[in-house]
């Protein structure tokens, strides 16, 4: 087993190697095409008219902020539980969940406990990366690492393979510098370069991290200072999907073969850049809150359909 096959973040006791075994399809080649600006993968044998390969789905949950009890949402536990119920109601069970950070509001053990208890209701493996709210213990994220960082590197980065797709969880919320935005830091970039180096350009890549990798608002710090370097390592791949949180709203951008997407929070909405004096929580009427919170589903469909990212509000 290579070091990219780990059980990072999963506390479900599910055997991910077993899962991988079930899901693995033969390492056949892929044909890449762009459909409606989004990359789609096609197996060579499928392109030749052979049998289709079973698609798979995973979920993105983000910014659950357990412990948040302010006017914008009096109890973030309630809405996280609704989000998990959405996942449980899906007709097709997703293979796993990625959580893109800000699990907690203040990194308190009881907040992590509550989050774990609620997320466990999905009964799925979960892969976590931290948000800045998860690094607030006295030792700058040691508590997060002790709970979610098993078999990760540095401040919690890791990678794994699933059904032919290479997933990379990155940390851009640690050791931030005054005046800057999110940052990976040199150690993580060295690791990322090595992690991607040996992989064929046909491997679909999914990158997930808390703060967006493209600069949405410099003024609000909504970007990652050294993301440009990371993107140079990704440029040669045929399909790269970048999933982020942090900004509590859906935004998507396609740049070449890289699709950037940010997810809704399950806790509270934040304003669009430039529409408010600060990026703080937005208080909306009670009946509107659940239209602005939600989860994201990502479908890998092998065939001539684009890789699909579908955001579902809690109100749906």
């Amino acid at each position: 087993m290579k070091d990219d096959e780990r059980d990072a973040g999963s506390e479900e006791g599910l055997d991910r190697r077993g899962l991988l075994k079930c899901m693995t399809w033969g390492g056949t080649g892929l044909i890449w095409s762009l459909s409606a600006g989004l990359p789609s993968a096609m197996l060579v044998d499928q392109a030749l008219g052979a049998t289709a390969v079973k698609p798979f789905t995973f979920m993105q949950v983000s910014d659950s902020h357990i412990g948040f009890m302010k006017p914008a949402n009096p109890d973030a536990r309630v809405t996280l539980r609704e989000a998990i119920a959405k996942i449980n109601a899906l007709p097709q069970k997703p293979d796993f969940i990625i959580h893109t950070g800000d699990i907690s509001q203040l990194s308190k053990p009881e907040e992590f406990d509550d989050a774990d208890q609620i997320i466990r209701e999905a009964g799925l493996p979960v892969f976590y990366v931290p948000g800045e709210h998860d690094m607030l213990d006295d030792e700058n994220g040691k508590l997060y690492l002790s709970r979610y960082g098993k078999n990760t590197k540095g401040t919690g980065w890791f990678s794994f393979d699933h059904a032919g797709v290479h997933f990379v969880g990155l940390v851009n919320v640690a050791n931030l510098k005054g005046g800057g935005m999110g940052s990976f830091g040199p150690d993580q970039l060295v690791w990322l370069k090595q992690d991607l180096a040996g992989r064929p350009a046909s491997t679909p890549i999914v990158i997930f991290a808390h703060i967006p990798l493209w600069t949405i608002s410099q003024e609000w710090g909504w970007g990652t200072d050294d993301a440009g370097e990371a993107l140079t390592y990704l440029a040669r791949f045929g399909s790269v999907t970048v999933l982020n949180g942090h900004i509590h709203q859906i935004m998507q951008k396609v740049e070449g073969r890289i699709t950037f997407h940010t997810a809704n929070s399950t806790a509270f909405p934040q304003p669009a850049p430039g529409t408010a004096p600060s990026p703080g929580p937005v208080k909306v009427p009670e009946d509107k809150l659940r239209t602005l919170l939600g989860v994201t589903r990502v479908d890998f469909v092998r065939g001539d359909k684009p890789l699909a990212i579908l955001d579902t509000p809690l109100s749906a």
Binding site: E132, H133, S278, G280
Partner: protein, 128 residues
């Protein structure tokens, strides 16, 4: 601990001093000593920097040596107050309405930021 703080009017000076020492543990430095906000309340002589809308106000503050500065978080989101060198002063996370105080005992310029939202920056200029 929170129970003790809530009933601090009945806490003897000796007890309060001991508690302050525990809370400030590890925060002492050559430049000044971090003291929990409530313990510094009786003095309350120095200026206050208010954190509102992800901004330190005033962003630049000029004070005399020996002045205690208090930062108060007015946002619904937690913030921190950390000197750019990460060592001179460093608050714990400040939730809504929580505060942090630091006494500047040496002249100089002290740029600082919020370690959660590093685009938030401020500066304290300490003069003799």
């Amino acid at each position: 601990m929170s129970r003790v703080i809530c009933t601090r009017r009945r806490v003897s000076p000796l007890r309060a001093l001991a508690l302050a020492t525990v809370l400030a543990g590890g925060s002492a430095s050559v430049v000044g000593v971090a003291v929990p906000a409530w313990a510094a309340e009786p003095a309350a002589v120095g200026p206050t920097v208010k954190i509102d809308n992800f901004t330190f106000g005033p962003a630049a503050l000029t004070i005399k040596v020996g002045t205690t500065v208090t930062w108060v978080n007015g946002d619904d989101i937690p913030h921190t107050v950390v000197s750019v060198d990460h060592t001179t002063f460093k608050s714990k996370v400040l939730d809504t309405d929580q505060s942090y105080t630091f006494t500047f005992t040496k002249a100089g310029e002290y740029p600082y930021f919020c370690s959660l939202h590093p685009h938030m920056t401020g500066k304290v200029v300490v003069q003799n």
